[in-house]
């Protein structure tokens, strides 16, 4: 068995596939526009698998909703993530997964910045630079092995973000 960089990480409670977003009647109202918000971005990335453990980024507290800033009208998004340990060599890969996921899932009008949360990684600056350099990201994705790893991490990404049902009292369908 290969040694893992972080053998025994702390596990946090995840909301088990359910979006914490409450269902609203407007969700089904055709004319009501739903702006893209932090919760929606969080739902897109929370269930990405960690490259090392069969756990999601949410369970490892790598991503948190409060660390995402979205401005729909200014077309800008900032996602900050927290590596599990400051010397985590997977940080770039995790960042790349988030980057690819958002590339695939968001309209191209958005400018997405992805960075390590301040003070949580030794080589924070280098990682950030790599993640926000378009050409280096594109080059990384030319590498078919790397791409496969990324796709594997993203395979679980769609499992999240189901709308939680609200309690409406006893219902009986006739």
């Amino acid at each position: 068995m290969t040694t893992l960089i972080n053998q025994n990480p702390v596990i946090y409670e995840a909301s088990a596939g359910h979006s914490t977003r409450e269902w609203r009647e407007d969700d089904e109202n055709e004319d009501q526009e739903d702006p893209i918000d932090a919760q929606e971005i969080f739902d897109l990335i929370r269930s990405i698998s960690d490259p090392e453990h069969p756990l999601s980024l949410e369970q490892l507290n790598v991503t948190q909703r409060d660390h995402i800033q979205v401005s729909d009208e200014n077309n800008s998004i900032l996602v900050e993530f927290t590596p599990t340990i400051p010397h985590c060599s997977m940080a770039t890969l995790i960042g790349l997964c988030i980057r690819v996921r958002l590339l695939r899932c968001l309209p191209s009008r958005f400018k997405v910045d992805i960075s390590v949360r301040k003070g949580t990684h030794q080589s924070e600056h280098a990682v950030n630079k790599q993640l926000n350099d378009k050409e280096r990201v594109a080059a990384a994705l030319e590498n078919s092995h790397l791409l496969e790893v990324v796709n594997q991490c993203l395979a679980t990404a769609t499992s999240g973000g189901v709308v939680a049902n609200i309690v409406k009292g006893p219902t009986a369908v006739n």
Binding site: P9, D27, Q32, R104, P107, R109, P170, A172
Partner: protein, 1044 residues
């Protein structure tokens, strides 16, 4: 005879038929007259001694086949002995061996076959036949012969025990065919059980274990149906058949445990688990340490849940077995010795309980504790004090929560081992969990966790689970403690803002309600009903104080109120609330009373699902009372606003009536139906329960076209009662035709839609159920249908009347289609003719949904409707050609109606039928995507999605037309593409990469990914979510990304 023999022997391979015929004739001849067997042998003489091996073998085959088929009872003992001898002697002739074995096998089943014969044959086979040099069928005969011999002549074979075992080992050595192995594995097991294998243990083990681990993978079209799982289990049975194997097997199994293949590991662990009880504790003890180190790897670094579970299970079995070992006293007790490193390792991990390895440690301790009383005691005493003190010194709530999770594992282990409260147990009453010593500490701990004002809900959740787990332990908590716990749960359900906590507490109450209804009845139910409003004022106060909504509380009641004594308590309380509410509320605020009655409905349905015996009794009190409550307010002079007049309330009461009624026997139904008819048909108010006539009350005439609307609405209840009737139940009317006719008449005359629908349903039910032996046939065909036709086609009649007639017509069509009455198909055809009639056409087309769609309420199997087998298929077969033809010959406006009808039919047809009949319909379906009707579009897209999943080939053929169409349907620009359409189109596109081959989709990949980028910016979030899902499916197609 001789002629037949020569025909057979001389037949060339190309005249196989002739040979077969000959052999059949011989077999038939000898079969009826065994005396001819001699003739056969004599006739075969020259061939059996022929110089040509081929001829000898063929002659033998004839003899063997004859023996295998003839009536053996007529063959005498000496003949059998002679034949056996003959066959055995000839085993030296290699060319004939396979046929000879077949013959011996046949002989071994004869009544006159003796132990002596058997031993003779076995000896001959072992001495003369080198089994593994023959082909599979011959080897198979050997094993079959052994099987038959072991089964019937064990005693005789024991005389040559050692030789037989040794010989068998040689026969098996090198066998590879799965069919033979399956047989051999069962033989090995029998041999181990029946014979003295002492001298050959190692040989037998080696010849068996060499197959471990099984790597066999059956060919894709394997006709024999042998899976690797069959072989694994067969082999495992052999290995676990005798403790003699222990010293050989354990080291090898441990070795395989460290293999890299997941399936080999799993097989090893499962085999160890199967062997442990047989090998016994003394055999396991020397390997205890190795077993632990092997298994812990599988748990701490588990690659999957399944392997982890298998490892835990194996650990448990080993612990159980070691517990039964003879104690050498004190520290050398095998189980304690085994557990010591386990406890040390797990406790090391548990020092940091919030980390990843803590959870598996808890699982390990749980598995071991579940194994036996001594193990549980040892683990409990060694770990719980430490865990408790760790808890006291921890500050972090995450850490506390993780520790509680471990304690929960212990509670669960105790429950499994020592029994669940309220369930019978075979244990003595002094067989109690060691946790009892820590009961007070546990109770305090979990209670504190539950009551902590900490915002970390997971900790409080663990508290709820802990108390629940303690209640479930047999003979653990006292009644007072249980009632405390229940009170905490009730408080959480009623007061706590966190939904997860509420749910868990409610689930706990629900499970307690089944095993200790008393405490739930005395503590939970009163508290719940207390919180329910009784006046309109209560409802308004509700928004100010943070009180739970009545809907929420009633939802909780539906979870716990199912148990008969609890339900008996719920019913009067709900009825009382209904009375209070209808006295105080104005008639328009119905949400709450609807929720109250729905609670009863939901509970009754759950009871029906679980077949509760107390259900039928509610037909004599609850149902009449509710119906009375609905009728009374329609009789008052002023006909004032009243809650019980509300249409939705009536629906719920109807639902309650139906669910109770269908679970009542015919006799009781007859009585009930009679009283209902008295009230509704004859207006007899004296028997309405709880009704006191007031001066000025009007008469009750719900089945009249000109009566009070409020009374007419109650026709819903009347038609429900007819719907709930069993087929044997009689409707108390003198003339059923006349009665039905009058209902039809009212339905068409009335202006009240509720009444009309109710009466249409009633008529449909009567025509479906009571047309036994076609007694109503002429009435339907000659009176009813022509009359309705006339009205529908009467252009000068009012539209309302024509619509009413059409609706009645559709319902009757449904009733007859369900019973596959030919009139039903005629009527379906007529419905299609109406498609072209302005305004009515669309209604007729939508009527197809009614005709073939399953209704949730009326005319169902549950309500005893006559549903003929395959009625849907028959309807489909009738309809589709007519629909297609109609579509082709119609004008565009009318075509739309055909497409609607088609979509209704397709949606309701069983999938298998749909898929076989689809290809000719595809052009029509594609056509309907271009109509600007959102309903039609989304329904058609759903059909395409089914095709994608279940008939990918068909879909692949039409991609060039469909893909651009589907893409265009995802565009929000076109207002006809509603949210529903856009989402359906995205779903359909997203289903393609999972089902269709890459080669078919590749040409569209970049187009789909590019075009769907627009949907990522759809204004609706739900659509965006589908777009994301769809695109990620397409991205991973072949694993490359095109546009990233």
């Amino acid at each position: 005879m001789d002629r037949l023999i020569s025909t057979y022997i001389l037949a060339q391979t190309d005249s196989q038929q002739q040979a077969d015929a000959a052999i059949q004739d011989i077999v038939r001849d000898v079969g009826t007259n065994p005396a001819k067997l001699l003739m056969l042998v004599q006739g075969l003489g020259e061939y059996l001694t022929s110089d040509e091996a081929f001829v000898r073998s063929k002659a033998t085959a004839l003899l063997s086949t004859t023996l295998a088929t003839l009536d053996q009872s007529k063959i005498n003992a000496s003949a059998v002995t002679v034949l056996v001898e003959f066959f055995c002697d000839r085993l030296t002739d290699q060319a004939c061996v396979p046929e000879l074995l077949k013959g011996l096998l046949a002989l071994s089943t004869f009544d006159k076959f003796t132990g002596v014969d058997c031993v003779k044959a076995v000896k001959a086979i072992l001495a003369l036949v080198n089994v593994q040099t023959y082909q599979q069928t011959a080897r198979h005969y050997v094993f079959l012969f052994f099987e038959s011999a072991i089964k019937n002549y064990t005693q005789s074979l024991r005389s040559m025990s050692a030789d037989f075992v040794f010989g068998f080992i040689q026969c098996l050595d090198g066998e590879k065919d799965p069919r033979n192995l399956m047989l051999a594995f069962t033989l090995i097991k029998h041999i181990i059980q029946e014979f003295d294998i002492a001298q050959h243990v190692e040989d037998l083990f080696e010849v068996t274990f060499c197959y471990f681990p099984i790597t066999f993978r059956p060919p894709p079209d394997d006709p024999y149906g042998i899976t690797s799982e069959h072989l694994k289990i067969g082999l495992r049975d052999c290995l676990s058949a005798t403790p003699y194997f222990a010293k050989f097997a354990l080291p090898l199994l441990l070795e395989k445990l460290s293999s890299s293949s997941g399936s080999a590991k799993k097989d090893s662990m499962e085999t160890i688990a199967a062997c442990a009880p047989v090998y016994g504790s003394s055999a396991l003890t020397p390997y205890a340490e190795e077993l632990w180190s092997g298994l812990q790897n599988e748990i701490f670094h588990a690659t999957g849940d399944e392997l982890e579970q298998v490892a835990l299970n194996t650990l448990q079995v080993i612990t159980t077995e070691l517990s039964m070992g003879v104690s050498m006293g004190g520290t050398n007790d095998p189980v304690e010795k085994f557990l010591r490193p386990i406890i040390t390792d797990c406790m090391t991990q548990l020092q940091k309980p919030e980390l990843k390895l803590a959870k598996p440690s808890g699982k390990i301790l749980k598995a071991c504790a579940m194994a036996s009383d001594p193990a549980c005691t040892a683990i409990t005493l060694a770990t719980i004090p430490t865990l408790l003190s760790q808890y006291t010194t921890s500050e972090q709530s995450t850490r506390k929560k993780a520790l509680l999770d471990v304690l929960l594992d212990f509670l669960e282990a105790s429950r499994v081992l020592y029994g669940t409260a309220g369930q019978p147990t075979e244990h003595d009453s002094d067989f109690v969990t060691p946790l009892l010593t820590f009961k007070d500490r546990f109770f305090e701990l979990f209670t504190n966790a539950l009551l902590s004002s900490n915002e970390y809900n997971a900790l409080r959740l663990a508290g709820v689970k802990g108390l629940h787990g303690m209640i479930l332990l047999r003979e653990f908590l006292s009644e007072t403690e249980i009632s405390y716990a229940v009170q905490y749960f009730v408080r959480i359900v009623l007061e706590d803002p966190d939904s997860e906590l509420q749910e868990t507490a409610l689930e706990s109450l629900a499970s307690l309600a089944l095993i200790m209804p008393g405490v739930v009845r005395s503590m939970a139910l009163p508290a719940f009903f207390e919180m329910l409003p009784t006046t309109q004022n209560d409802m308004e106060v509700d928004t100010v104080v943070q009180r739970k909504s009545p809907e929420y509380i009633l939802n909780a009641v539906t979870k716990i109120g199912m148990e008969p004594t609890l339900f008996a308590d719920v019913v009067p309380q709900v009825l009382e609330k209904i009375d209070q509410v209808s006295a105080d509320f104005n008639g328009s605020s119905t949400t709450y009373p609807i929720a109250l009655l729905t609670t009863l409905l939901v509970l009754l349905r759950s009871k029906a699902e679980r077949k509760h015996a107390d259900l039928p009794q509610y037909l004599s009190n609850l149902v009449p009372q509710l119906i009375g409550k609905c009728i009374a307010p329609t009789l008052t002079q002023d006909d004032a606003d009243h809650i019980m007049k509300n249409a939705e309330i009536l629906e719920v009461v109807a639902g309650i009536t139906r669910v109770v009624m269908v679970h009542v026997e015919t006799a009781a139904q007859n009585e009930f139906v009679k009283s209902i008819f008295n009230i509704f048909v004859h207006g007899d108010l004296a028997i309405v329960p709880a009704y006191q006539a007031n001066a000025g009350d009007v008469a009750f005439s719900p089945l009249s076209a000109i009566g009070r609307v409020s009374q007419q609405n109650t026709a819903t209840l009347f038609s429900t009662v007819i719907d709930g009737c069993r087929q044997q139940t009689t409707l108390p009317v003198e003339n059923l035709q006349q009665f039905t006719g009058s209902l039809v008449e009212v339905a068409i005359k009335t202006a009240n839609v509720t009444q009309r629908t109710a009466l249409s349903k009633a008529v449909a039910t009567i025509l479906n159920k009571y047309n036994k032996a076609n007694v109503l046939e002429s009435f339907i065909g000659q009176t009813l249908i022509p009359e309705l036709h006339l009205i529908i086609r009467q252009e000068q009649a009012s539209f309302e009347a024509r619509e009413a007639a059409l609706i009645m017509y559709t319902w009757i069509t449904k009733a007859l289609v369900l019973s596959t009455n030919s009139l039903g198909y005629d009527m379906t055809g007529e419905l299609m003719n109406i498609f072209a009639v302005p305004r009515l056409g669309k209604i007729a087309a939508d009527g197809f949904n009614l005709v073939i769609g399953e209704q949730r309420d009326v005319l169902t199997k549950e309500t005893f409707a006559v549903l003929r087998l395959l009625y849907k298929q028959r309807f489909f077969n009738y309809c589709i050609p007519v629909l297609v033809k109609g579509f082709e010959s119609s004008k565009d406006e009318v075509r739309h109606n055909f497409l609607i009808a088609l979509s209704h039919v397709l949606r309701n047809i069983p999938k298998q039928v749909l898929l076989t009949e689809l290809p000719p319909l595809l052009p029509m379906l594609v056509h309907s995507l271009s109509f600007p009707d959102p309903e039609l579009k989304s329904s058609t897209i759903e059909t395409f999605q089914i095709i994608t999943k279940d008939a990918p080939g068909l879909m692949a053929d039409h991609l060039s037309t469909l893909t651009p169409l589907l893409i265009s349907l995802t565009s929000a620009q076109d207002p006809a593409n509603t949210m529903k359409v856009r989402m359906a189109a995205l779903k359909c596109l997203g289903a393609q990469p999972k089902s269709l081959p890459f080669t078919a989709l590749r040409p569209y990949k970049s187009q789909v990914l590019k075009e769907l980028e627009k949907s990522l910016d759809d204004r609706k979030r739900l659509v965006r979510r589908e777009a994301v899902e769809c695109r990620s499916q397409w991205f991973t197609l072949n694993g490359s990304i095109a546009s990233a």
